[in-house]
Structure formats: C-alpha cells, structure tokens
C-alpha cells in the first residue's frame, strides 16, 4: 500500500529552485492547523504546495481557510501559480524511496506536529481524511423547556434583534441587506443540502451538486463552471435569482425539494443583488483564525471565536446530549457565541467592556501557570499574543463587530470614575472596622460553643471578626448563667443584646470585660445601679439602652465620665428628669432619651 502511494508521487525539489512568483506563507485550515509552504501549481480544485524541504503536498482548496482560498484564487488569476503538476527540478539530489519512506513514518507517528499532520504525500484521499471541514454543530436534543434551549439575549439588545440574528430573519424596513445576516441563512436553509462545501462521508469526498457551493460569500459569487450565478445589480443575468423564480414544474426550478422560497426570501435575495451583491460588512480579514496586526481592531468572529474554539470550547461549548444525558458546559459558562460570552454565567459576567481588570475572562488567562484556577486548565497557557489580543478586544469595547480603531494594549488605564460618592468620611475606617481588625475571626466551633446557652451569635458581616450576641428566642428563660458560654469569644462581641431576659447586674458587670463592646442593650431587665459600676472600662461603648430597667439618678452618674457615648436610652427607668439634666450637662454631645 505504502509502496503504491510512494510510487504514485515522490517528488523532490530544492526550494531554492522553485523560482515562481509565489513566496512562502503560512496556510491554515479552519481547524487551526498550519502549514508553511508555497503554492507551486494547481489541478482543478487541488492546490500543490511545496514545503521548505521541497516536498509537494496536494491539498484540496476547500480544506484551507477562507483567506487562504481567496489568496490562492487571486494568485491563480494573476497567473502567479501555473496550472498542473510542477516538474521536478533536476538540480536537486534525488532521494531514494527508503529515506522518503522513513520520513513518512516519522510524520505518521508524530501527533503533536500539526503542520506535519498534513500528509506530504500527494494522495488526495489521505489528505481529506486528515483535514476535514469543521464538524457540523452537535445536534441539540435538549428537553423542551430546558434552560439551554433558550436563546441568549445580551443586555441592551432587543429580543427581536437577537432572534433575527439567530434565525436570519427579516431585515428591518429601510435596512440594507447584509449577506451574513439575511442572505446566508436563506441559502443555508434552502440550498445547502446540495450546494454545500465538500465534506467527508465515511472516507468518501462528497462534492456539491453542479460544483456550486453556497456556504460562503466567495463561493456564491464564484459560481461554477457555467459561470457566476450572481451578477451584482443585474437580476436578469443572476441565475440564482432566475431559478428560484421559475414555475415550480420547470426542470431548472430551485430548490427541487422542500418547496419554493417564500416571497420574503425571494425579495431579500432580489434586494441583495440589486443593492450590489456586497459581502457582509467586516466579513473578511486576512488574519482570521490568528492574531490580528497591532493596528487592526480585533474581530470577535475572526480572532476571538477561533481561539475559543481551539482552547475553550471543549469544556465551555454548547450543551449536547450524550448517552441520553445532557452534557452541560462547565461552570454553566458557554463561549460558543457572542451572546453567551457576554452573558457569562450565574456568577456574573466574564467580560466588562473597556476594563480588562474587571473582566474575569482576562484574569483567569493571566494567572500564574501553576495557579489551580488558570484557564485553560489543560495544555499550555495562552500565548502572550493571544492574551494581548483578548485584552485588546476587551479594551476596544468587546463588541461583536470589530471596533473602528485598534486599542493600545499598553495604554495606561483611565482612572475609574467613581459612581456615587457616598460619604467622604466613609474612606476613614469606622470604629467597627478598626475594632474588627483587632480581633481574630471566630471559628464555627467557637460560635457554636457560644450559642450553647440559647444565644444567637452572628458575625456582623462575612469574614468580620466582630459578632452580635443576642438572646431573642425564649428570652424569658435566660438568666445570668447564659453569659458563661461567651468565654471563648470575649474579644469578638461588639453588640450584646440581653433585653427582656432575666439577667441581673452580674451579667452587665461581666459584659464589662468584653473589650470591643460598642453596643449594649439591657432594655426591660432587672439591672440596677450596681450593674453600671464597671461600664466606664468599656472605652468603645457608643450605645447603651437601659430603658425599662431599675437604674436611677445615682447609677447613671457613672456614665457621666464616658464622653464617647453617643446614645443613652433611659425611658421608663427610675431616672428622674433632674438626673437626666445632670447627665446632659456632663455629656453635651450625647443623645440622651428619657421620655416622650
């Protein structure tokens, strides 16, 4: 078998002698494979490339990326590439078949070398097996009503517009016809069954009918051997328009199966042709699938999406059904369309247009290589150019269509506009914030231990070392013994609420040993003057509620030295108006409330 193939094509050329006008360039396939070579000839739709070693490779035109196809077609038109197989140059040394054989084996065995996986051997079947068209998207067999079956609509886009885009629906009145958005979906729906890109079906190449392909703008405009099917501004000579308007029983009527196009669709095609049969705006970029030049704005469809396809979609692709189970994208994050990328997942968005620091997408690809959360988790991290490309795309506004001007990835980020300036004072740490720094965050066991006697102990906020301790449930069953459980969190208690319990002075005396106490409520308890004695040791106490207690004029004078107190509540206690007046004199800044 191998011998036969070798016998068919073994060509040997020294690259020096390939004196064609063509230069070496990198050819790419839509799968991201690349091949460094130059075109030296063509046969029909097959291009013959020579690599640096001088070997020839036959590659079907269709398996190359769109840009390469455009480039090659132009080169052929410009007669830079001769027709037919180039003759082997006799100046080179001939290589015997044995060494060639071994080289091929090497190529076979090397799996990591994408460039080399294009067989240097010219057997067409071989190469089409290796280079396939991208697989058709996995069929979505999602349950009715499944979350993933819904169409994602980005914020700020009307559902109609998103639907129109997904379904290729009607253009708005007065809108110019866009090939990608309006025409291509019709062709895909109605013509693509026969006029598709050649693809491989169990080892056999299936070519489009009448050699006519409707899968890209270039192919539509190219037509087939009978000539172009679309002539801009000329409906009479545009065969595409003619055949869809024939009577249905005509032999040439298209589409032959599945019913005629409806009038709206015909109208779209008619308008597109009369408007000049232009390609979609921004549908061509010479750097598709790679990294754009520094002065070229990044395009989502041409640069970002191919990168995602290559590196991210194995995990973050569309959900699909496998063994009757729905395989969902990891972390509920899909990166297969623009809408999904912008939508992010339940944890929030991953892209903040214009701010790469805020964009999770950017931060996860720039983590250290050994960081467990770096993305992609498998394989090498993204290259520096790729990271810069994503950064630039975010800086350029993270649009679906490329921005007008390329952003400078190294520009100094603009100072952020602060949204609402609440209180200038808030910049200074509040008392609670500074106290929180002095204490250690209590462990769960500590809190559970403190709750043993019926208290509710909760941190003021997440990862805050301060806690509020209160006896709210079954308050009337709580007595002085309850506070014994707080030994482990003495430093953490900033708020203590013993209101409505049966505690006595003993508890308040005990509470005076909580160094960070700022808020104390003993409302409706049996606390008396004796309980207040040690309170002045609480230097951070700001609020004390003694309403409904037995404290009197005598007792509250112990508070007179506590000038930092902000609020004192004495209503319904045994304090007289005179006593309140006295206290007010000593604490002029304090809010003292003793009655209506």
């Amino acid at each position: 078998m191998i011998g036969k193939k070798l016998g068919l094509y073994i060509f040997l050329v020294f690259s020096l002698c390939a004196a064609q006008a063509e230069d070496f360039r990198i050819y790419r396939t839509p799968q991201g494979q690349s091949f460094n070579g130059k075109a030296v000839g063509y046969e029909g739709q097959t291009i013959i490339l020579a690599d640096e070693g001088g070997s020839f490779v036959k590659i079907p035109l269709s398996s190359l990326s769109r840009d390469d196809q455009v480039y090659l077609v132009e080169s052929v038109k410009a007669k830079r590439i001769p027709q037919g197989m180039p003759k082997s140059q006799s100046s080179g040394t001939s290589v015997n078949s044995a060494s060639e054989l071994s080289r091929m084996d090497q190529n076979r065995s090397s799996t990591d070398n994408a460039a080399r996986s294009i067989s240097p051997n010219g057997v067409e079947l071989e190469s089409t097996e290796k280079i396939r068209r991208p697989k058709p998207p996995k069929k979505e067999l999602l349950r009715v009503g499944s979350f993933f079956a819904h169409l994602p609509v980005p914020l700020g886009v009307s559902p109609d517009e998103a639907m129109a885009k997904a379904k290729g629906a009607k253009p708005k009145p007065g809108e110019l016809i866009d090939f990608d958005r309006h025409v291509l979906p019709i062709l895909e729906q109605k013509c693509n069954d026969c006029h598709h890109a050649p693809f491989d079906r169990s080892g056999r190449l299936v070519n489009p009918k009448a050699s006519l392909r409707f899968d890209t703008y270039e192919q539509v405009m190219k037509g087939n051997l009978d000539g172009p099917v679309v002539v801009a501004n000329d409906l009479d000579n545009s065969n595409l328009y003619t055949v869809i308007n024939l009577p249905e029983d005509d032999d040439m009527f298209m589409p032959p199966k599945g019913g005629a196009l409806d009038t709206d669709q015909i109208d779209i095609i008619k308008r597109w042709i009369t408007e000049g049969a232009k390609p979609s705006k921004s549908s061509v970029s010479p750097t598709t699938g790679g990294v754009p030049n520094a002065n070229e704005p990044v395009s989502f469809n041409h640069h970002i999406l191919p990168l995602f396809e290559q590196r991210c979609m194995e995990c973050h692709g569309a959900p699909y059904v496998k063994n009757s189970r729905t395989i969902k994208p990891k972390a509920g994050l899909r990166l297969d369309t623009y809408e999904w990328v912008l939508k992010g997942n339940l944890d929030g968005t991953i892209v903040t247009p214009g701010d790469h620091f805020e964009s999770t997408l950017f931060s996860v690809i720039t983590l250290d290589e050994d960081d467990p959360e770096i993305m992609p988790p498998k394989g090498d991290p993204l290259s520096e150019e790729q990271v810069t490309m994503i950064k630039r795309w975010i800086l350029e506004g993270a649009g679906e269509q490329p921005a007008a001007v390329a952003a400078d990835p190294n520009a100094v980020p603009k100072p952020k506009e602060t949204k609402v300036v609440l209180n200038q004072v808030q910049n200074q740490p509040t008392l609670l914030e500074s106290l929180a720094r002095r204490a250690k965050i209590p462990s769960r066991t500590q809190i559970a231990g403190a709750e043993k006697t019926g208290a509710l102990v909760r941190q003021l906020s997440e990862r805050n070392s301060l806690v509020r301790a209160e006896f709210s449930s079954f308050a009337s069953e709580i007595d002085d013994s309850a506070l014994s459980a707080f030994g482990g969190i003495k430093n953490n208690i900033s708020h203590l609420d013993v209101s409505r319990t049966r505690i006595t002075d003993k508890t308040i005396l005990g509470a005076s040993s909580y160094p960070n106490l700022t808020w104390l409520s003993a409302r409706n308890t049996m606390v008396t003057d004796n309980g207040l004695k040690t309170l002045p040791s609480l230097q951070f106490l700001r609020y004390i509620n003694l309403s409904g207690t037995k404290v009197s004029d005598k007792g509250i004078m112990t508070l007179a030295t506590m000038t930092d107190l902000e609020e004192i509540y004495l209503w319904n206690s045994e304090v007289s108006e005179k006593g309140v007046e006295m206290l007010r004199k000593s604490l002029p800044k304090t809010k003292i409330i003793a009655g209506l």
């Binding site: 944890d347 805020e358 997440e462 990862r463 209160e470 609020e567």
Partner: protein, 435 residues
C-alpha cells in the same frame, strides 16, 4: 497478571474519598466558583458589610396615596395643589403638606424619594409590583418582599414568625417555602386569632394528639421528601412552639399601657402600628401594616385630610411609631417605609378628586440606615414626572431596603419550573438616601 490489570486505573483510598467529596458535596467546585464572582457583585453579597437595619415596618397606603397632598407638595402651584398648604419640617429645606404636622417633626430622621415611578396603573397589578418587584403574571406567583426578607435574612427569634402582615390580604411566599409567607393578622386588636390552646385540652392530651398526627403523616412525608412538605410540618411545629411561648404576648396589644394606646390612637392603623412596634421589639423581621382608603377619585381634599389628620389619620400613628421606636432605642435598627402603589393625578378632576397617576409618586423612609433630612430627586412644576434625579422604580425601592438590611441582591432562587428570581428583580439600591 489479573491483579495488575485491575489496578491500573484504580484510585487510592484517599483519592477516592477526595473525588467522592468533590462529586457529592461540591467541595472541589466551591473555591473555583468563588473566583468567578465579580468584584462589584461581591459588594452586594450578604455580609460584605454589616447591616444598617435589621427590621422593616412597611406602611402600605392601599388605594394609592395622593403624593401631592402628602409627601410631595408643590406650594407654588395652586392650580394643582388646590387648598393644600405646605409646612416646614424639622429638616432644612424639606416641606410636607399641612396635613402631616406631626410627621414633619421627624423629617430629620427620614428621607423622601420624590421620583418614584411604576409601570402599572391599576391597583392590583401595581401593588403586586411594589410588593414583589415583578409584574403580575398568570403563570407564577412571586414571593412578596417580606417573604424574601424572611428567606434571606435568617431568623432572630425562633419562636415567632419572621414576616407578619397586619390588615389586608396577600403577603404570600410565592414559590418560596411556605414558612416565609406573611402571618396574616386581620384585626390588630384581636391579635393572633385562634392561637390559644383550647381550655379543655391539657398538656398530655395535646401531646397525644400531636403524636397521632405525626404518625399519620409519617408515610406521606417519607414518600414525598420535598421542600414544601417539610415546610408544612415545620409550620405545625412552629405553631405549637408559638402556642406555648411567652412571645405570643407580642401579638397582644391589650398588654400595652393606656398611655401607648393614647399615643397611637384608636384607629385600626394606629393599633396596627402599635402591634408592629411590639412585634419588632420581639425581633420579627418584617411587618407590613396596610391602610386603605386612599383611592380618592372623588372629593380628594376632604378624604386626604381625613386620611392624614384626625383620629383615623396616619399622622398620629406615624408620629407615635417613630417616637416610640426612638424612645426605646429601636429606631436605629428599624427601617420604617411608607409608600403606596402609585400616585394621583396633578389635575383635579370634575368631582374634585384625583385619579391614578403611576408616573410619579413618593416614598417615605425613616430610621435605620437612612440619611435623615434628605429628599431624592425633584419633580417638574406640576408634580407630573421626575425632572431631577433618576426615576426610582418599585424594584429600586425594594433593592434599597434590601441593601440596607444587608441582604444579597444577587441571590438567585429558582421557581419550580427552574426560572431564576432575585429579591429585588434587577433593582439598584438608591445610595443617595442611605447613611
């Protein structure tokens, strides 16, 4: 040989346990998931900051209060203002209508949002939107805001419900667990109806009955181990706990001294406010008091003056509530909100009344976490539409309350059909009125 093949892919015991933990407990996922949480989102997660308020008393003016004749007067425009004058308040530059002289004394503790707007102009739909942040739909019943608060804030007092609604219906938990729905109290004077144990029932008999009921339920609850079923039995447990608890007294306003009754007045709304205060004192999270009678299509000015002043008006109870909370030292941790489902037309109609006006109305907020003495936004000369400041939607008001309570605005709860909902829809907290 056999052994070695078997062992090729076998995990070590530790690996197995680690994997099992990852798979079953989500241990492996959590740190990862955390890293995706956006910074700005973090600011809104619970516990990012200490809560400013812990309780809410929501005074719902059913039937839609005339904003022009209460909290948003236009003193320079007699055409739309009719006979109503404005009065200064305890806060500089803040004016109220003359119908609210007592409330005016508290404006230094309160804020007014003047640019409330809503999308609904019919009472039921607008009230639904105010209470749930979502539009009323045929396919789903959204939880009311009180239920969200109950669900997300955690309990303080285990023996009594977290969410109580005084007067008026509604307050349901929607698709949340039934325990979060509001405990309805029709008449504040009679307190919690049917909550006392029957006189002929002694403890042992009662215990027997409970045990019997539990036995009957066992089959069902083991077969259907669902949230709702568990919640139902929890409701029973809580009811029993409540029945025996001293906290039940919280619902009994007859225990208040006469002085308090005098302060709040004898009107239903006044007694409702008194009950609300008692409940807050007992650590209920969310109390809503509804007062109807604001649908003043006819004879607006007389009706509004009756609704505000006098023994049936809101001025006295509101004054009493704010005073009472302040006196007890509870105002700082209690947020008092007074608003209605929409406003009323600036144009006075042929019957001397005002009709529905969803394009502009007011909300009054006082107490915990509120920057006292502020107003937000300004309306045009006629009080028709917001002219300064952004329009504040019901969602935004609810988000503001929730933010003040330290609740997570981005916490997603799923309805039985798997749709995601949050407590304030997509509302944004209005920081301008928060301290």
């Amino acid at each position: 040989m056999n052994m070695s093949i078997n062992n090729i892919d076998e995990l070590g015991r530790r690996e197995f346990i680690a994997n099992a933990a990852k798979a079953c407990l989500g241990v492996g996922l959590m740190p990862m998931a955390g890293s995706y949480i956006h910074n700005s989102v973090k600011a809104l997660t619970p516990g990012a900051r200490p809560a400013k308020a812990r309780h809410v008393i929501y005074l719902n003016m059913g039937g839609a209060m005339s904003h022009l004749d209460t909290f948003g007067p236009k003193p320079n425009n007699p055409d739309i203002q009719g006979p109503v004058k404005s009065i200064p308040t305890s806060a500089d530059g803040v004016i109220l209508s003359e119908y609210l002289p007592l409330t005016a004394k508290h404006m230094h503790n309160a804020a007014i949002i003047k640019t409330m707007v809503t999308s609904q102009g019919a009472h039921e739909q607008a009230s639904y939107l105010m209470h749930t942040s979502y539009l009323k739909r045929g396919t789903i019943v959204h939880p009311t805001f009180g239920s969200w608060v109950s669900k997300l804030s955690g309990t303080i007092n285990r023996t009594i419900p977290r969410n109580v609604k005084i007067g008026g219906g509604g307050g349901g938990a929607g698709f949340l667990e039934a325990e979060h729905g509001a405990l309805p109290i029709g008449d504040p004077k009679s307190g919690l109806a049917n909550s006392k144990m029957a006189s002929y029932l002694d403890d042992s008999k009662f215990g027997n009955r409970l045990a019997m009921a539990e036995k009957l339920n066992t089959n069902f609850s083991t077969q259907y181990q669902q949230k709702q079923v568990r919640a139902y039995s929890k409701l029973y447990e809580d009811a029993v706990k409540l029945m025996k608890s001293e906290d039940l007294n919280a619902f009994d306003i007859s225990q208040e001294p006469q002085m308090m009754h005098d302060l709040y007045g004898t009107s239903n709304f006044g007694q409702g406010c008194l009950l609300a205060r008692r409940l807050i004192e007992n650590k209920v999270r969310y109390v809503e008091v509804t007062r109807g009678g604001w649908d003043t299509h006819d004879n607006n000015f007389e009706a509004v003056s009756m609704n505000c002043g006098g023994e049936n008006g809101i001025d006295q109870p509101l004054n009493a509530l704010l005073l009472d909370l302040e006196m007890r030292g509870l105002l700082k941790e209690t947020l008092v909100v007074l608003t209605s489902e929409f406003g009323r037309t600036p144009n006075i109609n042929g019957r001397d009344g005002r009709d529905h006006w969803p394009y502009c109305f007011t909300a009054f907020l006082a107490g915990g976490g509120i920057k006292g003495g502020t107003t937000y936004g300004e309306t045009d000369d006629q009080g028709r539409t917001p002219a300064e400041g952004k329009p504040i939607k019901p969602e935004d008001l609810n988000a503001t309350i929730a933010y003040n309570l330290g609740l997570p605005l981005n916490d997603v709860q799923y309805s039985p059909s798997g749709r995601p909902f949050t407590l304030a829809h997509n509302g944004e907290p209005l920081m301008d009125i928060l301290a």
